[in-house]
Assembly symmetry: C2
Homo-oligomer: 451 residues x 2
């Protein structure tokens, strides 16, 4: 049996950050990561393998062996098939046994397969965070001319954009774009941008089945209403589910959406066993309900909490619930969202008020590389607490959404934002007179400020 | 006598935001702005008139007449020479009288003249926020080949960079670059970048006098030690002082650095009289001492507070002290700072600890437009409260510093940052595993986290 002090199952962002942080905090402890396969990749980079990195998909691969060595972490390639919490041992796929002092499960998530015909046919792809699969898929997709992308979440929209960018004809099928992250008017704007990329968007249509030719290879899709589209391949970007079969079989307490129960310190119901990332339960920052949020940034934050608390409680996961926060790029325009949309808030019976402000991203506006910038704030109507934000603009949007993330996390109100202290610079930001986060807050606050 | 409801003296960013916000909150009130001169400009854009906007300096001008009209604000061109708080009247330069219900002083700041010979000679310029002056200066500077820029604060460094960019030979004289905003190692990096722009930097040298030719025109400068440099012109970027002579003469209570006393609601010691922006007192966020911080973004935040509180107290200036927060661009690299530097903290006897982290600004690093990114955090050694931050990188640094502004304003600790919820995206940000704000926090927190 191989013995280690801190054993981490899974080599994705959560697992690797847990390993690095453990090494930093407990330099005398042995840290071991067990992961499937030899390669690792940047999961959020997968869509860009099909366009921006078309000629060098290996740029998305991580030299995890070298990194582990540099961190002083032992890396083992194996698949764990069983855990015995009593004896604190795990079993690998060829019978190897691993003993631990502290165990961190970071088993991630796997694609969810929709219940339609022929999802396993040749020419049909999922988007697993599996380097070998993605490299093979990358090669096969190159030979195709027309591709159907099913699903209009981040992965579907990004892959559709990248395929179009690389010269493919794309049929994109799903609901309005990124509907969980953006209110309708912002989705519509994104749709406009997508159309310039010659993606044909079948909006609010459902894929009823995948059609196959006589050799069993995908040749088309059938939409609701019976319309069929001839394609050379199909990419199913229809969401993910936690990879928690092992945890369930081993007897860990589970929660909704097949997630592993964890407390604020990322501890499962078993002593010395932690779970982090996509496989661990997330609770919504407003409703505190379990939510299926899967983000590498959330996963790495949880990894840092788990590592800090392995031996003694040092650090509470001080976010009181998970905020959906992400950004993406569609045809040179950046889109980002944090918190809850107004549409979702309404569904949750939250009384909201919102404002959208559009400004120039540089000041004066005639400076080079100016990009129009839109900020939408969603606040609670009574207290003015900011609960959601959506931003469109240039690449600075990628960090602008993180200002809004802190604002939401710290329960700041639109009144707080009226006199937010910000840096503005002609070449970098909108003007101090029009800074859009503040302006949107003012548009909401005006209802409350009187004489 | 002209009567109005809300009278604002000054048409800079603070005055115009106060006017616009007053109109938004009190739509039935008459709002009047009295300002000197017909034109307005974007003050932070001034340096860029000498390079980026060389061929179109009017791009930095604001059509303030049209804007005022659009806002429903009356704009009067006059210079106020006296205020009588008893009768609530102001007197203009040609004898016109103005009556007010509420008065907001937003008189800004003017260049500080150093006590050296020949500062008023021909060919010597200051950098006032005066459109007519700047346009004339722009024309005269174009005819010059070699120019001395005295002062290494933001304005001096930016003008030196822009002049070099437009083909001039530049002598820059002063202390290390932006020493109030950056710790030495970051200043040094900035210096390296400046050198690529062929600016000759006379570091830690003092300008003893300006030399003039037989016609009284500036022809050189003499440094400490006696070295002389032949130049065609001299630009004095030696700081600003509040433009508060009128306020002092009128009997308002004053504070250190010639600022007007204001409370948390921007009220002066006279009923119905407010002061905002560079002319109003600022207190430091950590020491609460009066500090000479002059920023358009701070000024506009104060304008919004004043406008909200004109008739009833609606909004406290909820920042408990002013944070120095700004950004700039030197030779395609962006630099930004918020809060206090470690050097300044040490001078103030604050017990600090810091960490600097350098990462790739995109992930994977081989994606297009990757820019290395450095984040330095300064925290209190005991509590871990973040009190300063410095960032170097691509243009997203302009918004990244605003995340850090909120972090400092909300008194967040490095422990809070360990599990900050951020959005990361391959094309927009560093990786979730290495997000530098979090990584720097972890490097500081490690001293406190044990087992």
């Amino acid at each position: 049996m191989k013995r280690t002090d801190i054993l981490i199952v899974g080599g994705g962002p959560a697992g690797m950050v847990a390993a690095a942080t453990s090494r930093q905090y407990y330099s005398d402890k042995k840290v071991t990561v067990v992961k499937k396969g030899e390669k690792s990749l940047v999961p959020c980079g997968i869509p860009y393998v099909f366009g921006t990195m078309l000629d060098s998909p290996e740029d998305d691969m991580i030299p995890c062996g070298a990194r582990a060595q540099k961190m002083g972490v032992e890396l083992i390639h194996d698949e764990i098939t069983a855990i015995d919490f009593g004896s604190k041992t795990l079993r690998g796929s060829v019978g190897e046994e691993y003993g631990y002092e502290k165990l961190i499960l970071a088993t991630g998530s796997i694609p969810r397969k929709p219940a339609i015909d022929n999802v396993d046919a040749e020419g049909v792809f999922f988007v697993p965070k599996d380097p070998e699969y993605i490299l093979t898929m990358h090669e096969k997709v190159q030979a195709m001319g027309t591709i159907a992308v099913i699903g209009t979440g981040f992965i579907g929209v990004e892959i559709a954009g990248e395929l179009a960018h690389s010269g493919k004809q794309v049929h994109l099928v799903g609901s309005r774009l990124l509907k969980h992250a953006f209110d309708p008017e912002l989705s519509d704007y994104m749709e406009e941008k997508m159309l310039h990329e010659s993606v044909r968007f079948h909006k609010n249509r459902r894929t009823m089945k995948i059609l196959v030719d006589e050799r069993g290879k995908a040749s088309g899709i059938e939409l609701d209403g019976g319309e069929t589209l001839a394609v050379d391949g199909v990419i199913l970007a229809t969401g993910y589910r936690p990879n928690t079969e092992l945890a369930r079989r081993s007897g860990l307490s589970m929660r909704q959406y097949d997630t592993i129960y964890v407390d604020e310190y990322m501890r499962t119901t078993q002593p010395d066993v932690f779970a982090i990332g996509d496989c661990a339960e997330k609770r919504h920052f407003l409703t505190k309900r379990t939510v299926p949020i899967m983000l590498a940034s959330t996963a790495t934050a949880e990894a840092r909490v788990a590592a800090a608390n392995l031996y003694k409680i040092n650090l509470v996961k001080n976010f009181s619930g998970t905020i959906d926060i992400f950004s993406t790029v569609i045809a040179d325009t950046c889109f980002a969202s944090a918190g809850i949309t107004e549409e979702d808030a309404t569904k949750q019976s939250i009384n909201t008020v919102s404002s959208t402000v559009i400004v120039d991203g540089k000041h004066p506006a005639k400076l080079p590389n100016n990009h129009r910038q839109a900020v939408r704030l969603v606040a609670m109507a009574t207290s003015g607490i900011v609960i959601g934000a959506q931003v469109i603009g240039g690449i600075d949007v990628g960090e602008m959404i993180n200002i809004l993330g802190v604002i939401i996390e710290k329960r700041m109100t639109v009144f707080d934002l009226l006199n937010l202290q910000v840096a503005t610079h002609p070449l970098l930001t909108s003007g101090p007179t029009s800074y859009p986060i503040v302006q949107a807050a003012q548009n909401i606050a005006v209802r409350h400020i009187g004489r």
